[in-house]
């Protein structure tokens, strides 16, 4: 008997059970039933439904005249979709990289016995409590060329200061990056800080006894042990990037033109306002593919790790 028994599934149902099955034996299954039904229907069923629609010529209403891969072909010949996909690459890549960099750096800095650490942590993390709609509204005001930062810098005496990214089709996607990083980087910092605090203290003491400097200890001992945190943060951030919809809606509304569209906004527009259900479904399936490409290796390693515990 040890504490591990709880993890190896020695639940009550596996103890010597009486031959007669009573209502009590069915209870666990009965109470789980609503969730099982909801999951099977509303997650997997709907996923398949959308997949089926993506192979049809559905326009304003779902129809079931199958057209093979036509919608996918249309999708990848669609300029707006390619812009949205390219934006996702730029936005997602920068967003993830900057958040990870800021998150790790700030966590290490905060780990140096900082005075008022609690207050600083609170400031870094509060944007995560706020809706992307509010975030978008706030940054729209800050980045507005006639009233926002540009005007402030000009009033400060930098008369040639120009900052018009929000209305510049080539630069607008970076506005999304700024706002999204503001929102999510504190969260990554919190993840890494929690990870740092969980590193085995003996390991660090041993490194110091061997004469390693603080810098070397971080580089050689502490950071490598944070690989799982790093991986989790990566998965969560990519998930946020791929499903980002509200930030675009509030900050740029996809504009100028459709230069700041992301796939999520493309999908919504085509499915709900442009009567292109088949095309919208195909775009949703591509988004799902992106998420699964990241998620499956992650879940695989997580579950495998559990078995080795």
């Amino acid at each position: 008997m040890n504490t591990k028994a709880a993890h190896s599934g020695s639940g009550p149902t596996q103890s010597g059970r009486p031959a007669r099955l009573s209502l009590a034996d069915w209870m666990p299954k009965i109470v789980m039933a609503p969730t099982v039904i909801m999951t099977v229907v509303c997650i997997y069923g709907y996923m398949i439904w959308t997949a089926v629609l993506s192979f049809t010529g559905s326009r304003m209403l779902p129809s079931y005249n199958f057209v093979g891969l036509d919608q996918y072909e249309r999708l990848f010949n669609n300029d707006r979709w390619m812009v949205a996909l390219g934006n996702l690459g730029v936005f997602g890549g920068l967003f993830i990289l900057i958040c990870l960099f800021l998150g790790v750096t700030l966590a290490i800095f905060l780990d140096q016995k900082i005075r008022a650490e609690g207050a600083i942590r609170t400031i870094y993390l509060y944007p995560m409590a706020i809706s992307f709609i509010v975030t978008g509204t706030a940054w729209k005001w800050l980045l507005n060329p006639t009233n926002g930062l540009e005007k402030m810098m000009i009033d400060f005496g930098f008369e040639d200061f120009k900052f018009d990214w929000l209305i510049n089709p080539d630069m607008v996607v970076y506005c999304l990056v700024i706002a999204a990083v503001w929102q999510a980087s504190g969260f990554v910092m919190a993840l890494f800080l929690a990870g740092l605090r969980g590193v085995d203290g003996d390991l660090i003491k041993a490194a110091h006894l061997d004469g390693a400097s603080t810098f070397t200890t971080y580089r050689r001992v502490i950071l490598p042990s944070l690989k799982p945190v790093f991986f989790s943060a990566l998965v969560i951030l990519s998930h946020i990037a791929i499903k980002s919809f509200d930030l675009v809606a509030a900050l740029t509304n996809g504009g100028p033109g459709y230069s700041s569209d992301l796939p999520a906004n493309f999908m919504y527009a085509h499915t709900f306002t442009r009567s292109q259900i088949g095309l919208g479904s195909a775009s949703a399936m591509v988004m799902l593919g992106c998420v699964l490409a990241i998620l499956i290796p992650y879940l695989y390693s997580e579950l495998r790790g559990e078995r080795h515990e």
Binding site: W141, T214, I277
Partner: protein, 294 residues
Amino acid sequence: MSNHTVRRKTSGLDKALRVALYTVLLVVAAFYLMPFIVMLLTSLKDVEEIRSGTLLSLPAVLNFDSWSKAWSSACTGSSCDGISPFFMNSFQIVLPAVAISTLLGAINGYVISLWKFRGSDVFFAALLVGCFIPFQVILLPMARTLGWLGIANTTTGLVFVHVVYGVAFTTLFFRNFYQSIPGELVKAARLDGAGFFTIFYRIILPVSTPIIVVTVIWQFTQIWNDFLFGVAFSGFDTQPVTVALNNLVNTSFGGKEYNVDMAAAIIAALPTLAVYVFAGKYFVRGLTAGAVKG
């Protein structure tokens, strides 16, 4: 807890490094604080003052007109009753959705960790996928379903949607928490004749307070901050505050009242900010519970 840095003799270099460290931390803090400060300052100025001053100039007098306008008379879409009706809508959606999804999560977590049956682990893995799918992939079928059920554009419909897609997270939280409860405890109670629900009420629930708090806070912020489901599944009368805020900011062309926009944005953010300020510890735990296995 942080015993990482070993105390050393402070040299000049160390002191310089400390100063640099604090400088960086404070500059970054300013970056995080600035949008909120600007929002607050802007909401307290009148339109004329906004035009003449800069983002960070202080308002001449404290002027809460824009707040009352945002609350009760600003125009969102076709009506001009401010965002207060939508603020109430959000509560009407959030409260039942949080309660139901938390309860389901607790029961599911209890079964998955202490009453495992054949296939329950596989089901849990299948459910977890629900935490990560992009919701775009279920939007259209869900819209059709809500129509068939006759709850399209209603608060009930939105509650339903939030429960369905919240249960994956709540189950994950409770399952991870209950995983540490020894199976022997349940076995012993069973030998004493306690049934499924008795064990839940008498043994499991009394120790669940911390995870209930975390789950409720997580669900509250998630559902309050939702925009996608709100915009896809609500009618004008049942819009949550996020949708109303977006309408308010994006439709008031002509004489743009930035002070009203900012006041409305702060109002829409207040409930979750309040949760963060008063229960920050649990908020962070909720954020990390889904990410790092506890």
